[in-house]
């Protein structure tokens, strides 16, 4: 007998992309521009804290919401950095990465058929998670010419037309690097309020904003009550493997998310939580050092791509460039596959981030400058 999996799950993952990933993972000596995590090892003080925590016997469960000391640190950090105030007792939940937080939030908020607006191109999990939670996902395509930003007028139109209840926003964006400054956010907020939309805001790349200061959506007037703010330690502190994120929001929403969290996860791993606390207390310098590096690599990559005719806007954050490959007339999967076979350079086909992202590829510049230089030379050779 073959066990039948649910239709919903069966319909999920885009299979073409999975096959390409397997191809990359099975190949040796690849220069990778395909990685969604920093190329730095977690700063030593954080690793040392994790080791010591094990030595001292911190191996148990924590409270469902996470260590209160970590939640207090997060509250302090947000207050200090953004003047964003959350109560560590009731308004903050420690999750296993932002990924878990998103799943919890959708399941807590959505009633069957509620319409969820997901701007595209976007991170791979947004639409599937909302869909799994019973929402009806409406995709809104952001345009290359607008550097993949949502325009307030477009947002207003689609909210009205579709009766959107929830909006998923991610800035700086994976995969496009698009972000919003205060003025742009204020214009979006007007529309969000007018249409009475609740927002999940994934701001995990906030420390990697290059051209202006990052403004959390929840800090804008009247927004704290309608935003679930998500962030984590993976990107800013190169802690992807520790799997620690956090969600902040209104008390009833966090309480709802905690209910699911206590049954599915119980609590985030204690070791990761302790390491995360150390990151907040002593980690700032590492973040700053990384940002300077990434900013240089960003300039280098975008310039190099444009020089070889792959049109690329200047991303304002994260560590991704999202050039157009339309001039090659290849699909993004073909482009990625051929480039891998011919030149052993790996990148992620745009179509992974939604059908509208076809004709683009995602290039991660979280690699050493040497590797980026070599990779750009190979891409140039490939185009000839």
């Amino acid at each position: 007998m073959k066990i039948q999996i649910s239709k919903k799950v069966d319909d999920m993952a885009p299979s073409g992309i999975r096959a390409f990933f397997d191809l990359v993972l099975g190949m040796k000596d690849v220069i990778s521009l395909g990685v969604g995590e920093p190329d730095f090892v977690t700063p030593w003080n954080i690793r040392e804290k994790a080791i010591t925590a094990y030595e001292e016997g911190y191996t148990s469960y924590t409270s469902n919401k996470g260590l209160i000391s970590l939640r207090k640190q997060i509250a302090h950090f947000l207050k200090h950095k953004f003047d964003l105030v959350y109560d560590p007792e009731t308004e903050i939940l420690i999750t296993v990465g932002v990924s878990e937080g998103l799943d919890l939030a959708w399941r807590t908020l959505i009633n069957p058929g509620d319409k969820v607006l997901v701007p595209e191109p976007c991170y791979v999990s947004y639409a599937p998670l909302a869909d799994m939670a019973g929402g009806r996902v409406i995709r809104m395509v952001t345009q290359t010419k607008n550097h993949f930003k949502m325009l307030p007028a477009e947002l207003d139109q689609i909210c009205k037309k579709e009766g959107i209840k929830y909006l998923m926003i991610n800035y700086p964006s994976n995969p496009t690097g698009a972000s919003y400054n205060r003025k742009e956010l204020e214009a979006l907020v007007k529309v969000i309020k007018k249409n009475n939309v609740v927002v999940i805001s994934d701001e995990v790349y906030d420390d990697l904003t290059y051209d202006f200061d990052h403004v959390p959506l929840a800090t804008l007037p009247g927004m704290k009550e309608r935003v679930i703010y998500m962030n984590g330690f993976s990107k800013a502190y190169a802690m992807t493997g520790f799997r620690i994120g956090f969600a902040c929001g209104p008390e009833n929403v966090i309480a709802g998310m905690t209910k699911i969290h206590q049954y599915t996860i119980l609590c985030a791993p204690i070791n990761g939580q302790m390491a995360a606390e150390e990151a907040l207390v002593n980690g700032h310098k590492s973040v700053a050092a990384m940002k300077t590096e990434y900013k240089r690599r960003r300039q280098f990559i975008v310039d190099s791509l444009n020089e070889m005719g792959l049109e690329c806007h200047m991303p304002q954050g994260a560590f991704y460039a999202f050039p157009s490959i339309k001039k090659t007339s290849m699909t993004s999967i073909d482009f990625a596959q051929e480039l891998l076979k011919e030149q052993k350079v790996a990148l992620v086909p745009g179509v992974a981030f939604g059908p509208s992202a076809e004709g683009h590829v995602r290039i991660s510049y979280a690699s050493s400058f040497e590797a980026l230089k070599e990779a750009m030379a190979r891409v140039k050779k490939f185009l000839k």
């Binding site: 993972l25 190949m27 991170y123 791979v124 240089r296 992620v348």
Partner: protein, 161 residues
């Protein structure tokens, strides 16, 4: 520190064209700035950091840290005696420091005898040198911010979202 200097301090081989791309400046502007730094002595030299432990023929190369107590002189303080000491080619670095001694030297020689000879015949008998304490270097773990062992390789998967 200026961004160009910061980049070159990390890797002196980065070309002006690459620096121009990284910083958004023009190639000419970068070249001009570098030239200016070279002429004004801000950039002293471009050197290669070599892990001598891994180079076979230099196994006899020894290095010592030497603490030197000196008597400062009227008007010139420590500068005069320091100059007399650092002018020896065996002295690769010379610092005036606070604490229980005055000058900290890094001295290099082909072998222990040569370094010892330098201390016994040149350094210690010098007028105003009150005493020395020599520490021969046994193993180098980290130098100028670089950990001297095989690089920690990335354990990342080659592709992820």
């Amino acid at each position: 520190m200026d961004e160009i200097l910061d980049i070159l301090a990390g890797d002196a081989r980065v070309t002006p064209v690459e620096i121009a791309k990284m910083t958004g400046k023009s190639k000419d502007a970068v070249q001009k700035a570098i030239k200016k730094y070279e002429q004004s002595g801000v950039i002293v030299q471009y050197k290669t950091l070599i892990n001598h432990d891994l180079v076979r023929e230099s196994n006899s190369f020894v290095r010592a840290l030497i603490e030197v107590s000196v008597t400062p002189q009227k008007d010139v303080g420590f500068d005069h005696i320091a100059e007399r000491i650092y002018s020896f080619p065996e002295v690769v670095s010379c610092y005036l420091v606070s604490g229980t001694y005055d000058l900290l030297l890094i001295v290099e020689g082909e072998n222990i005898q040569k370094v010892s000879n330098f201390i016994a015949s040149k350094l210690s008998p010098m007028e105003n040198v009150r005493g020395t304490a020599t520490h021969f270097l046994l193993k180098k773990y980290k130098e100028d911010g670089h950990v001297l062992k095989q690089k920690e390789t990335s354990k990342r998967l080659n592709i992820s979202y």
